[in-house]
C-alpha cells in the first residue's frame, strides 16, 4: 500500500508540475506599440497594421544582438487579425498584455466607423491594459514608428516614455484608452496628442481634435496649451511674454480652472483659470530688478493678457469653427444641471456654438529664483 502511494506521488511530480507548456520569455513577443492606418484597397483588409516590439535579446548587459526593436507591417481586417497574419513570418506568439501605445493614422481618423472598430476591439480585449496611450499621427503611421526605431533606447518604446514623462506639459494632452472613451461618451469630443515626423525624427506636439471618433482638426502646440489651461491640466510649462521690451519667461508649476455656469437667461459659462509658478528668466542689468512688488504685478498683468489671448482664440475656434465641446461644458451641465441638460442634450451641437464664455485669468508669480 505504502509503495503504491509513493509511486503515485512520484508520478504526480512529473504530470502535475505545471511546467509542460511553459513559454520562455525570449520566446514571446511583447508588442509595445501598435500603429493602425488605412489600407486603401477593396476587400476585408482595410487596415494597415504595424507592430513594434522590443528585441528581448538586445536588452540587458550581456545583450547578444544589436537591433533593439523590430517593426512589422501587414494589411489586415483588424488589429489582432494582423497578429495572425504576421504569425506566418514570425516564429513566436504575440502577447498584448504590455501594449503601451496605439497610434492612429491620419487617413484612418477620417473614417469614423473604422476608428470605432479599433477602439471597440481594444476595449473588449481581456489582455490589453486599458491605460494605453492613444496618439494621432499626422501622415503615415509606419513613418513615425520607423522614425523612432532609430532612437530606440527603452523597452517600453520611445513614444511611450516620451508621452509618459511629459504628461503634464501643455504641449499636448495625453489620452488613455479609457479616458478617450469616457470623454467621448460625455462630450462627444476629445483631444489626443499629435505625432509628426520630420526627416528621421518624430515629435509629439499639439493635438488632434476628435468629434464622435472622427478627426475634425489639427491643433498646434499653442492651441493645445490654451485648451490645457482651460482644463487646468498644466503643471510643467514655461510661458514667454514681452515685458517692457524684454522677454520674461515664467514657469507654471500649478494650474487650476473653475467653471461656473449660469442658466438665468442663456447659458453663461465663466472660466477662472489660475496659474502659479516662478520667474524663470528676466534680463541682467543695473536697473532691471524683479525684486519689486510693482514689477511683479506688472509682469503678472502681461502674462495674464497673453494667456487670455491664447485661450480666447482657441475657445473661439472650437466653438465657432469646429463646434466641438472639448472643454467639458456639456459634461459639467450633465452632472450639475441634469434637468437643463435633459432638455438640451439632443441639440447640444447647435447650442454649444452660441453660449457665452467668459474668462478670467489669474497669474501668480510666487518665486523669482535666487537673484533680485
Amino acid at each position: 500500500m505504502k509503495k503504491k502511494i509513493i509511486i503515485v506521488g512520484l508520478l504526480s511530480l512529473i504530470f502535475l508540475s505545471g511546467c509542460w507548456d511553459k513559454v520562455e520569455i525570449d520566446q514571446r513577443i511583447f508588442v509595445s506599440t501598435i500603429g493602425v492606418d488605412l489600407h486603401e484597397e477593396s476587400g476585408m483588409k482595410k487596415y494597415m497594421v504595424t507592430y513594434e516590439y522590443p528585441n528581448i535579446n538586445a536588452i540587458g548587459k550581456n545583450a547578444t544582438e544589436d537591433q533593439k526593436v523590430y517593426v512589422h507591417s501587414t494589411p489586415a481586417s483588424s488589429i489582432f487579425q494582423a497578429g495572425r497574419e504576421l504569425s506566418t513570418q514570425i516564429p513566436f506568439p504575440f502577447y498584448y498584455k504590455h501594449l503601451k501605445v496605439l497610434i492612429l493614422g491620419e487617413k484612418l481618423l477620417n473614417e469614423e466607423k473604422m476608428v470605432r472598430q479599433v477602439i471597440d476591439e481594444l476595449n473588449r480585449d481581456t489582455k490589453v491594459n486599458k491605460n494605453i496611450q492613444i496618439l494621432a499621427a499626422e501622415g503615415k503611421v509606419s513613418d513615425i514608428i520607423n522614425a523612432n526605431v532609430i532612437r530606440a533606447q527603452t523597452t517600453d518604446g520611445v513614444l511611450y516614455s516620451n508621452v509618459k514623462n511629459n504628461r503634464t506639459s501643455g504641449k499636448y494632452t495625453v489620452q488613455t484608452l479609457t479616458g478617450l472613451i469616457s470623454t467621448l461618451d460625455f462630450a462627444g469630443a476629445t483631444v489626443i496628442p499629435k505625432v509628426t515626423v520630420e526627416g528621421d525624427r518624430y515629435s509629439v506636439s499639439g493635438g488632434c481634435l476628435l468629434k464622435n471618433y472622427k478627426h475634425v482638426a489639427w491643433l498646434d502646440e499653442k492651441e493645445n496649451r490654451g485648451l490645457s489651461f482651460v482644463r487646468g491640466q498644466v503643471e510643467n510649462e514655461t510661458l514667454d511674454a514681452f515685458y517692457k521690451g524684454d522677454i520674461i519667461s515664467f514657469t507654471v508649476i500649478q494650474s487650476s480652472s473653475n467653471k461656473e455656469v449660469n442658466l438665468d437667461k442663456e447659458i453663461d459659462v465663466t472660466f477662472s483659470v489660475r496659474l502659479e509658478g516662478y520667474l524663470q528668466g528676466y534680463i541682467i542689468g543695473k536697473d532691471k530688478t524683479a525684486f519689486d512688488m510693482k514689477v511683479i504685478e506688472e509682469m503678472e498683468k502681461v502674462l495674464e493678457e497673453d494667456v487670455k489671448k491664447e485661450i480666447q482664440s482657441i475657445i473661439k475656434k472650437i466653438q465657432k469653427t469646429y463646434k466641438a465641446d472639448v472643454i467639458g461644458i456639456g459634461e459639467h451641465l450633465s452632472k450639475f444641471e441634469p434637468k437643463k441638460w435633459r432638455e438640451i442634450k439632443d441639440d447640444w451641437d447647435n447650442i454649444f456654438p452660441d453660449i457665452n464664455i467668459d474668462l478670467s485669468v489669474d497669474v501668480k508669480i510666487r518665486r523669482i529664483g535666487l537673484t533680485k
Partner: protein, 363 residues
C-alpha cells in the same frame, strides 16, 4: 465546546463570505444599466430586503428551539407539502451552484487561464468545493472566518490604489432616477444578496441565540458597505457610460491602476487569484445546503453520501448555457425567481403556518 456549534462572529463571517461571491464583479454595471448614477439606491434597498426575513427566521427558531429549519418545516407542514418545499429549495441550490460555477469559470477563462478548457476549470473547482461541503457547517464557518478579512480588504485595497485617478464628479448627478425603473433595479441588486439563506441552517446552531440576529444584520450591512464602495469606485473611475458597457467592471477597474513604479500594474491576476478564495467560500455553503436538503428528503444520518452525486448534476447544469449572454439573460432570471420563492415566500409561509398552529395549541 459542543460539537457543530458556531459562534456569532463565525455566523457573521459565514453570511458575508457566502453572500459576496460572483455578484460583486457585475453588480455595479447591472445596477447602472437599470438606474444610471443612482444605482446605489438599488444596492441599498436590495440589501435591506432580507432584513424582515432574517427577523422572521429568528422568530421561527425561537418558537421551535433546538430544531433545524427542515425539522420545523416537517413539523408544521403536511409531509407532502414539506417535500415540495424541500425539492424547490434543492433545485434552487443546485441552480445557484451551477450558475456561480459557470460565471466563475467564464471569468477565470477570460482573465487568467485562456487556454484551459472551461470543463477543466469547472471540475477542479467542483471537486475542491465538494470536499469542503462534506464537512459540517462549523467547519465552513471556520473557513469563512479565514476568508472574511480578505473580503473586507478587497474594497479598501480597490479604493486606495484607485484613489489618485478617481474623478468624483462622475458620481453626479444623483437623484435623477426614473421611478418606474426602481423595482427593476432592486430586483437586479437583490440577486447579488443571494446566500443569506445560509442563516436558515446556521441560526439554530449558534452558541448564543439571543444575539444571532444582531450579528447577522451586522454582516448584511457589511455586505452593503462593500457593494457600495465597489460601486462608487467603479462609477467614479469610469463614468456611467463606460460602466454600463463593462461586464465585470470591478475587475477592469483594477487594470486601470497606474501608480508610479511599475510593480503595481496589471494587478488583475493577483486579485483574481484571491477572488477564487472568495468564490470558494460562497460555493461551499450552498453545496453543503443542497447535501443537507437531500439528507432531509431521504432521511439519512449524514449528508456526506450525497455530495459526490451532486458533482455531475451541478456540472451539467453549469455547462448547459451556450454562452455568457444566456447565463446572465436566462439563467440569472430563472435564479432570481427561484430565489424569490425560496428566500422570501417559503419562510413567510412556514412562519405563518407555524404561528397559527402555535396559537391553536395555546387556546
Amino acid at each position: 465546546m459542543e460539537k457543530n456549534r458556531i459562534s456569532n462572529q463565525q455566523l457573521k463571517a459565514l453570511l458575508v463570505t457566502t453572500v459576496i461571491g460572483i455578484g460583486i464583479l457585475s453588480l455595479p454595471s447591472e445596477v447602472a444599466v437599470a438606474l444610471n448614477n443612482d444605482g446605489w439606491i438599488a444596492i441599498l434597498i436590495g440589501g435591506l430586503i432580507p432584513v424582515p426575513f432574517i427577523m422572521i427566521m429568528d422568530r421561527l427558531f425561537k418558537m421551535y428551539p433546538k430544531k433545524s429549519y427542515f425539522q420545523i418545516t416537517k413539523e408544521v407542514m403536511s409531509p407532502f407539502v414539506a417535500y415540495i418545499f424541500f425539492i424547490v429549495f434543492f433545485i434552487y441550490t443546485i441552480v445557484v451552484i451551477g450558475y456561480i460555477h459557470r460565471v466563475f469559470a467564464e471569468v477565470i477563462k477570460a482573465y487568467l487561464l485562456e487556454n484551459t478548457p472551461i470543463k477543466v476549470i469547472l471540475i477542479t473547482m467542483l471537486v475542491a468545493v465538494s470536499y469542503a461541503a462534506r464537512s459540517r457547517l462549523e467547519v465552513l464557518a471556520r473557513v469563512a472566518v479565514m476568508i472574511y478579512p480578505i473580503i473586507l480588504g478587497f474594497p479598501i485595497f480597490l479604493l486606495v490604489v484607485n484613489l489618485p485617478n478617481l474623478d468624483y464628479t462622475n458620481i453626479l448627478p444623483i437623484f435623477q432616477l426614473d421611478i418606474k425603473q426602481i423595482p427593476n433595479g432592486i430586483f437586479t441588486a437583490y440577486s447579488a444578496y443571494l446566500g443569506f439563506e445560509i442563516t436558515t441552517l446556521a441560526f439554530n446552531i449558534t452558541e448564543d441565540n439571543t444575539k444571532s440576529v444582531k450579528y447577522t444584520l451586522r454582516g448584511l450591512f457589511t455586505v452593503i458597505g462593500v457593494y457600495l464602495i465597489v460601486f462608487f469606485v467603479t462609477l467614479s473611475q469610469y463614468g456611467v457610460f463606460q460602466l454600463k458597457r463593462g461586464i465585470w467592471p470591478s475587475i477592469d477597474v483594477i487594470k486601470e491602476v497606474d501608480l508610479p513604479g511599475y510593480f503595481v500594474e496589471n494587478l488583475d491576476g493577483i486579485v483574481l487569484a484571491i477572488w477564487v478564495l472568495v468564490v470558494y467560500s460562497s460555493l461551499g455553503p450552498f453545496f453543503h445546503t443542497s447535501g443537507i436538503i437531500l439528507k432531509e428528503i431521504f432521511n439519512t444520518k449524514t449528508h456526506e453520501v450525497f455530495i459526490p452525486f451532486l458533482i455531475p448534476i451541478t456540472f451539467v447544469i453549469s455547462i448547459i448555457p451556450d454562452n455568457l449572454v444566456v447565463v446572465t439573460k436566462v439563467m440569472a432570471r430563472i435564479l432570481e425567481y427561484l430565489a424569490f420563492i425560496v428566500s422570501i415566500i417559503l419562510p413567510v409561509v412556514i412562519f405563518i403556518v407555524a404561528y397559527i398552529k402555535k396559537r391553536r395549541v395555546k387556546t
